[in-house]
């Protein structure tokens, strides 16, 4: 059990990093609360695996410190940190039974036999593995193997954190649902810090209390799933979370009025004068209403995708492409339509970063 603190951490795979471009992981300050369920979310190559490896001790950071509670573990090897890890591909010891697999970490640490037995039985019960305890681990399905990898972490009573590296990659779609609920259930019962790395927003958002979104080696936002959805701190977050992602439109902002492609858009708040190379307006498709031609922004409808539970209209406003939710039963007149935007859901971004309205507390 521990709180994990990342203190001005940065990492470069190059021996003498000069500019920020050389860093696979740019400076990060973050505290992982004891008992929290976290997700590290980002596309391939965003630095999330590097960060995970630094926490587990497989990589020593170029700069900064990592603390477990108040204990500096920066230079310590993996085996000296109390962490467990579940990998993308299931790792089990082929020659051993499930019981021997689960007992392995305790046996290596010289724990008494009857203690091991009790602990293994307990964990097997928790993971629903009791019935296969005496089977060879190599004969089990991928999801059972992932449970064994997880179990080898859970048997250790001193484990501070469990790290997951895209653990559902090789699991069948139908079983993903089950395994995900097992993980959540375990987290609720065991009070262990869990950090889950993935590129899949559904896995991240359903698992975690706090999602840390990474982009290009830096943390762009850390927040609850609601915060990421309602107030993306960066256009990247808006785009990455949600499907389809947030619409981002280049605009000019003048007080409480924005101009997009020559059309005025009313904002809910007034904004200060923005001194940025790129000013954009962000709004999610869910907060745009598509209606037959009339008041609102005039757009051309390229096509409407029916995804079963909803219909998504792909439209063009001048040179900008947008997505909007098309309500059932909207009859369009040709390919022309109009959009109305919910002003309270519009965010303004300067050079990609969210801008607070004038007068608001930053």
């Amino acid at each position: 059990m521990a709180r994990i603190t990342l203190d001005k951490l940065a990492h470069s795979y190059k021996p003498n990093p000069s500019g920020p471009g050389d860093y696979a992981l740019k400076e990060i300050d973050h505290v992982w609360r004891q008992g929290g369920a976290y997700a590290l979310l980002g596309p391939s190559g965003c630095g999330k695996t590097t960060l995970l490896n630094i926490i587990s001790g497989l990589v020593t950071p170029t700069r900064g410190r990592i603390l477990f509670d108040d204990d500096d573990v920066t230079g310590r090897p993996t085996e000296a940190r109390n962490i467990a890890q579940v990998f993308q591909f299931p790792v089990v010891y082929d020659t051993m039974t499930v019981r021997e697999n689960l007992a392995f970490p305790l046996k290596n640490r010289g724990v008494a036999r009857d203690v091991i037995r009790r602990r293994v039985d307990e964990i097997a019960g928790l993971l629903d593995l009791t019935r296969s305890l005496d089977r060879k681990a190599s004969n089990l399905t991928a999801d059972a193997k992932q449970k064994i990898s997880l179990g080898r972490g859970l048997v250790r009573p001193d484990v501070a954190a469990i790290l997951f590296d895209e653990p559902l990659t090789v699991i069948d779609p139908h079983l993903k649902w089950q395994l995900r609920s097992t993980l959540k259930e375990l987290h609720r019962r065991l009070d262990i810090t869990m950090i889950y790395v993935t590129h899949d927003q559904t896995e991240a958002l359903t698992f975690a209390d706090t999602v840390v979104v990474m982009h290009d080696g830096a943390v762009v936002q850390a927040g609850t799933p609601d915060q990421l959805f309602d107030r993306p701190a960066h256009t990247f977050v808006g785009h990455f979370i949600g499907s389809p992602g947030m619409n981002v439109l280049p605009c000019r902002v003048d007080g409480a009025l924005a101009t997009v492609e020559g059309h005025p858009v009313t904002l809910a708040h007034a904004y200060p004068a923005l001194d940025a190379a790129r000013v954009e307006l962000g709004i999610r498709p869910e907060f745009i209403r598509l209606a037959p031609r009339g008041a609102g922004l005039p757009v051309r409808v390229r096509r409407i995708d029916d995804i079963g539970r909803a219909r998504i209209a792909r439209v063009e406003l001048g040179a900008c492409a947008l997505s909007a939710m098309a309500p059932d039963g909207v009859a369009l007149d040709g390919d022309e339509a109009s959009l109305s935007l919910d002003p309270s859901r519009i965010h303004v971004y300067a050079d990609g970063r969210l801008v607070a309205p004038a007068g608001a507390i930053a």
Partner: protein, 322 residues
């Protein structure tokens, strides 16, 4: 997955049948033919039935005694070779670098002995072991050892074993290295997290993952060492006395030295059968060792499902790892 059947494809195999018949089946039948006959030269043959085989397998006879002595010698040699080369090969493979330019260097150095022809290897060690001009022989004598591979039985065996270890250990090492390279990093990381010792990593991850290549290595090394001929022939010619007269050397002595074709033919056949039998035993033991004959019929416990499963659509691990 089955391929479309086209029976004309069998025509393509015909040349192979012809070649195999010419190069293997016909000579073998000739040998079988010789083994049941006796000759006094002049190409005159007499029917001898299983007489040669009886004599060969009866240690009381001259031929039988000679055969069993050579057989035990050969088996002992193979046992020593396997006992040294397999563990040594594993150790060498484990200590090889896993990446960087040194990998290529190691591979080239290790491949060198494998590229040298057998008789050249024999000659190299013949010179190397000589007391007057050979570095090893001279050195050992200077150190006070009474070393002479033409005189002492121990010295002769020592030299032949050392020569074979030098020649062939890298084969075992290279095979093991290939097996080790195929283990994903995640296994090592998981073992570190589980607090496994170096020895535990070896016994629980590396050895099980190397089992298949080790099987091949053991089979190859057994067959080769059991049939060894050229190197000891060049080095000691089977001596001193008969101390290094292995089965193959004895066979040649009988067949070509004494021109006892019947005896030699019977010996070749028995020799062949022994190799086949031992290989079969090795193969069966090693493929079954560790294989799980686990209980079936407990699907709720998460056993791999017995679906109607084409292999190509299952194994997601393999597909993604590719």
């Amino acid at each position: 997955m089955t391929k479309p059947l086209d029976n004309r494809a069998w025509l393509l195999v015909v040349p192979v049948f012809a070649i195999v018949a010419f190069s293997a089946v016909l000579p073998l039948m000739t040998v079988v033919n010789y083994s049941v006959q006796d000759t006094f030269g002049n190409n005159q043959f007499f029917w001898n039935g299983v007489g040669w085989f009886k004599e060969l397998l009866d240690p009381a006879t001259d031929l039988g005694g000679r055969f069993f002595a050579a057989l035990w010698r050969t088996l002992l040699f193979s046992a020593i070779i396997l006992a040294i080369q397999v563990p040594l090969g594993i150790v060498v493979a484990l200590s090889m670098p896993r990446e960087g330019w040194t990998v290529a260097l190691c591979l080239v150095l290790m491949a060198l002995p494998l590229l040298i022809p057998w008789n050249v290897v024999g000659t190299i060690w013949q010179v190397f072991g000589r007391g007057d001009i050979g570095l090893m022989g001279w050195g050992l004598n200077r150190l006070g050892f009474d070393y002479n591979y033409n005189g002492g039985v121990i010295a002769a065996w020592f030299t032949i074993v050392l020569m074979d270890v030098w020649h062939w250990t890298s084969l075992v090492a290279l095979l093991c290295y290939a097996g080790l390279k195929s283990i994903p990093d995640a296994y090592y990381q998981a073992a570190r997290i589980d607090g496994a010792s170096r020895w535990a990593v070896f016994t629980t991850i590396q050895l099980p993952k190397m089992r298949r290549v080790l099987l091949i290595a053991v089979l190859l090394r057994f067959m080769d060492s059991f049939m060894i001929y050229t190197e000891p022939f060049v080095l000691t010619g089977g001596g001193p006395g008969n101390a290094t007269t292995f089965l193959s050397i004895d066979l040649v002595k009988i067949a070509l030295g004494q021109f006892d074709l019947g005896k030699a033919a019977a010996l070749s056949i028995v020799y062949n059968l022994i190799i086949l039998a031992v290989c079969w035993v090795f193969y069966t033991v090693m493929t079954h060792a560790g294989a799980d004959r686990g209980v079936r019929g407990d699907p709720a416990a998460g056993e791999a499902p017995d679906h109607a499963v084409p292999p190509a659509t299952t194994i997601p691990l393999d597909r993604r790892a590719a």
